[in-house]
């Protein structure tokens, strides 16, 4: 499974459709405080199936929809799509026949969230399984959100052992 691109629309401060290409090697993301860098990271985690609004710094899941600013009214819909390649044909389930996959998640205010793979609506756990099988996912150690390192440092020994269970 290879990640190629992330596309956001209406997700937090990214109200306009935005594409982030994810090429080989090291891609840096820079900018001043509060401009949206962590929002990009959260968009990826959200699309992979993050269930906790609190871990997205919100009170409820609707908080990830663009809330309006200055001249712009708030939105009632948000969508994030992850574009993937499947060259090794090694993913579980019916989508293994595809060379390319688009995993997308959308949310409608006061209405709920929906997951799709290549346009077909699927369950949350189908998406979870897809990523977990490739050793990634919203809870994976490979997604290190801002402040996570401090959490690991100040964690009690019992909590740290649970972190180890991710590897088991």
């Amino acid at each position: 499974l290879t990640f190629r691109k992330l596309r956001l629309t209406g997700f937090k401060s990214f109200v306009e459709p935005t594409d982030l290409p994810i090429d080989r090697g090291l891609t840096g993301v820079v900018g001043p405080n509060g401009c949206g860098k962590s929002n990009l990271v959260e968009a990826l985690r959200w699309a992979m199936g993050e269930t906790s609004a609190k871990r997205m710094r919100g009170g409820g899941m609707d908080d990830i929809i663009f809330a309006g600013s200055g001249a712009r009214p708030r939105r009632d819909f948000a969508e994030v799509a992850i574009f993937l390649d499947n060259p090794a044909r090694d993913i579980p389930g019916p989508f293994n026949t595809y060379d390319e996959l688009v995993v997308s998640r959308s949310i409608t205010r006061d209405s709920g969230t929906a997951y799709r793979i290549n346009g077909t609506e699927v369950r949350a756990r189908d998406v979870g399984t897809l990523f977990a099988d490739s050793a990634t996912g919203s809870q994976s150690p490979s997604i290190v959100r801002q402040g996570r390192i401090s959490e690991i440092i100040s964690a009690k020994p019992i909590e740290r052992r649970r972190f180890l269970e991710e590897a088991a």
Partner: protein, 162 residues
């Protein structure tokens, strides 16, 4: 369950010890299961001594040393099951310039070794300089983010303006 955890522990411990030495340019570190005979009930203790310093519990180390040690643990877990993507949000914030370079050396090698694509959010000039490409995030319109491809010079400018 128990056996799998102990196998994972051994593998992570080996990775952790060698990654620590890479990030610190020497020194010793290890993990320890404590507080219970049963690994499924135990706690995970981290012992570390940067080069030339005595072996201590993680809490006695400096802020930057603690972060570097935690990164060694994080990547040790990562290496047991390398993911196709790894996203790091400002993990280099407490590191001085020498440690930032060692961190970048490691990440560069992990990218090659496991074909993992890295997405690294940073404020550090040295980290920016080591990336294969850079994207700048700005808010030309207040409250609305915009993403744009930038070179290093423009990225340095971006740090300085809001």
């Amino acid at each position: 369950g128990r056996r799998r955890l102990l196998e994972a522990f051994t593998q992570v411990n080996d990775n952790f010890t060698s990654l620590f030495q890479r990030l610190f340019g020497g020194g010793e570190a290890s993990l320890k299961l404590i507080e219970s005979e049963d690994p499924l009930q135990a706690g995970l203790e981290i012992l570390a001594s940067p080069p030339g310093k005595r072996l201590q519990s993680l809490s006695l180390l400096s802020g930057g040393e603690q972060s570097l040690t935690a990164l060694a643990l994080l990547f040790a877990v990562f290496l047991t099951n390398p993911a196709p993507i790894c996203v790091l949000d400002e993990v280099d914030a407490p590191l001085d310039d020498i440690n930032v370079h060692r961190f970048c050396d490691l990440v560069e090698e992990l990218a090659k070794r496991s074909e993992t694509r890295f997405l690294i959010v940073t404020h550090h000039r040295h980290t920016m300089a080591r990336m294969d490409r850079l994207f700048g995030v700005t808010m030309p319109e207040r409250g609305v983010s915009r993403l744009v491809s930038v070179d290093l010079a423009r990225a340095e400018q971006l740090r300085e303006t809001a």
